[in-house]
């Protein structure tokens, strides 16, 4: 299974050099899927024949010299809330159980332009609402590190697929930590870029002011390479930013001399697993030994991020999900009396419990009489949180902490208490509120063998600092385990 040992960047190079082919790489991935998918269930849709046909096509183009993209021939898995023309896109929801997009998301177009070959669509929490991938209408995904545990979420299928070798890299989306937390739980690398860096065109919206697509990869080098492909200005997304500094691979320097890194004291209060704390502080020591200046500091408002997030995200979700009404696409109830009854029955039967919970909350905080007290209040606190980060980044290049307070919970533990599940996002959520880039890098395992993630946060547009520090850490700590 030598081909599976390659990272995405290494595989593209090996294909280019004729050491292997896009078809062989796809066959290797499909064999892996054959072997493990029944246990892990990373995918909602696997397009085996289509994937092999596209791999063959890309291989011919590579040989003819017409496909020279940096991911030429590399098999990729796409989260199921990202539209793929002609390929089922369900958001892991019953309401989109038969939805075939008529166009591809900008990121899918860009990946295909770079030569990547889509394997299929990965499982997720329904409409990206959840932290464990257990709210999927199509069954749970299991963590390859220990199948009795969740892979995290909402991009749990993508993170698990990368960890299990069921793809060479994957796309996820991150509204409150949905790339970084599953990457941490599964022991892979995941990045949420600065808001506006990656086009949201074709991403089925959850919280539009917070959503951002990003890479989930086996190592930091792959993360930089994939981000280079994704970071493209798109006139179809009005919040898309034209970045000029997108040569992210240049930031892969094994040295952090002089870099100032702040560790918020409030990230290590009660609730953090001692083993997570030890691993993360150990990673800080590694960066210190490579020249970084590490300091503890007080980052205010940490405890206010979650209530702010759930107010804003639920409000945006209640508005975004109004389009699912049984008229233009998706599920429609069979028996109804009149238009409004059809809407209500369709939505009630089509959405799962967590999605309904957030739509209800969002409708409430936006309703007349409560709009000021809840929604506007949350937007004011968001401004305060952003300011707290601005002040921190006046002093530090990076903020360092854990991705999540614990390692992956056991399957079934989180669903009984939604509020408790929400609390697992305490470190990741503020990053989305402030539009910042952040990365999750594996930094050890607990005594049960479950991966722990190091969370690095940078100021807006400073992905290169993240990649440099993450790369330096990874080089010192040793790349993640090979398959």
């Amino acid at each position: 299974m030598e081909r599976l040992q390659y990272s995405a960047v290494e595989l593209a190079k090996a294909i280019k050099e004729g050491k292997t082919t896009a078809v062989e790489a796809m066959q290797a991935v499909l064999e892996r899927i054959e072997r493990f998918e029944s246990e892990y269930h990373c995918y909602v849709t696997i397009d085996k024949e289509g994937a092999l046909a596209r791999a063959g096509q890309v291989q011919r183009e590579i040989e003819a010299g017409s496909c020279t993209g940096k991911l030429a021939g590399v098999p990729v898995a796409i989260k199921d809330n990202i539209c793929t023309e002609g390929m089922l896109t369900t958001c892991s929801s019953r309401i989109l159980s038969d939805f075939i997009p008529t166009y591809s998301a900008k990121v899918v177009e860009e990946l295909e332009k770079a030569g990547a070959v889509i394997i299929g669509k990965t499982n997720m929490d329904e409409f990206a609402m959840g932290s464990t991938t257990e709210t999927s209408a199509y069954g749970v995904t299991r963590n390859p590190a220990d199948p009795e545990h969740v892979p995290g979420g909402s991009s749990g299928g993508s993170a698990a697929a990368v960890a299990a070798g069921e793809c060479f890299f994957a796309l996820g989306s991150d509204t409150g930590g949905s790339i970084r937390q599953p990457a941490s739980y599964c022991g892979v690398v995941g990045m949420k870029p600065t808001y506006g860096t990656v086009s949201r065109y074709g991403l089925i919206a959850y919280g539009s002011s917070l959503d951002q697509i990003g890479p989930i990869t086996r190592n930091v080098e792959d993360c930089a390479a994939v981000l280079e492909v994704l970071a493209v200005k798109d006139e179809k997304d009005s919040t898309s930013i034209g970045r000029e500094d997108t040569d992210f691979s240049e930031a892969l320097i094994n040295d952090v001399s002089g870099m100032k890194i702040g560790i918020p004291r409030d990230y290590f209060t009660e609730g953090v697993d001692p083993q997570v704390k030890e691993a993360v502080l150990g990673a800080a020591k590694v960066l210190e030994s490579k020249g970084a200046v590490i300091e503890e500091f007080d980052l205010p408002l940490v405890d206010y991020a979650i209530p702010t997030y759930y107010t804003i995200a639920a409000a945006e979700a209640s508005s975004n999900l109004e389009r699912f009404d049984g008229i233009k696409y998706g599920y429609r109830t069979e028996q109804f009396e009149g238009l409004h009854n059809m809407y209500k029955k369709t939505r009630s039967e089509g959405f799962g419990a967590e999605v309904k919970r957030r739509i209800m909350l969002g409708s409430f905080v936006l309703s007349s009489g409560y709009y000021d007290a809840y929604y506007l209040k949350a937007l004011r606190v968001k401004a305060m949180i952003k300011k707290a980060f601005d002040e921190a980044f006046a002093r530090y290049d990076l903020i360092l902490g854990p991705v999540a307070p614990t390692t992956a919970p056991r399957l079934g533990e989180s669903l009984q208490d939604p509020l408790k599940m929400y609390l697992s996002d305490i470190y990741t959520i503020a990053v989305n509120l402030a539009g910042l880039p952040a990365i999750s890098v594996p930094c050890g395992k607990d005594d049960k063998g479950l991966p722990i993630g190091l969370h690095l946060i940078a100021d807006c547009f400073e992905e290169k600092k993240l990649l440099r520090a993450a790369f330096t850490y990874e080089q010192s700590a040793g790349k993640g385990e090979r398959l």
Partner: protein, 97 residues
């Protein structure tokens, strides 16, 4: 402490959210929403007087472009996803008598 969520509030939110909830779901929704709102009330500990609400982290300006049609006729593909179609149109339930 949030105001107690009444059954009427749940019914009203159900109308806004276009959801039809069973009695059991309503009871659960009431409990869940009360708990979440109590938690969200933590924000009232903060004095936000004079703080402008921030909807976007970057200054957002309207993005203009020329009004030129760039897509072709994809009505067939689009309608293929619809639960009800007739004569190249969406079928909707009767909206008035």
């Amino acid at each position: 402490m949030a105001e107690k969520i009444t059954e009427e509030t749940i019914d009203y939110v159900g109308i806004l959210a276009k959801l039809e909830l069973s009695d059991e779901e309503k009871t659960q929704a009431k409990t869940d929403m009360e708990r979440m709102l109590n938690y969200i009330d933590k924000l009232n500990e903060l004095d936000t007087t004079g703080v402008e609400p921030m909807s976007h982290v970057f200054p957002v300006e309207n993005v203009f472009r020329e009004d030129v049609v760039t897509n072709g006729d994809e009505s067939e593909k689009t309608l293929a996803n619809a639960p009800g179609v007739k004569d190249n149109m969406f079928v909707v339930p009767k909206t008035f008598d």
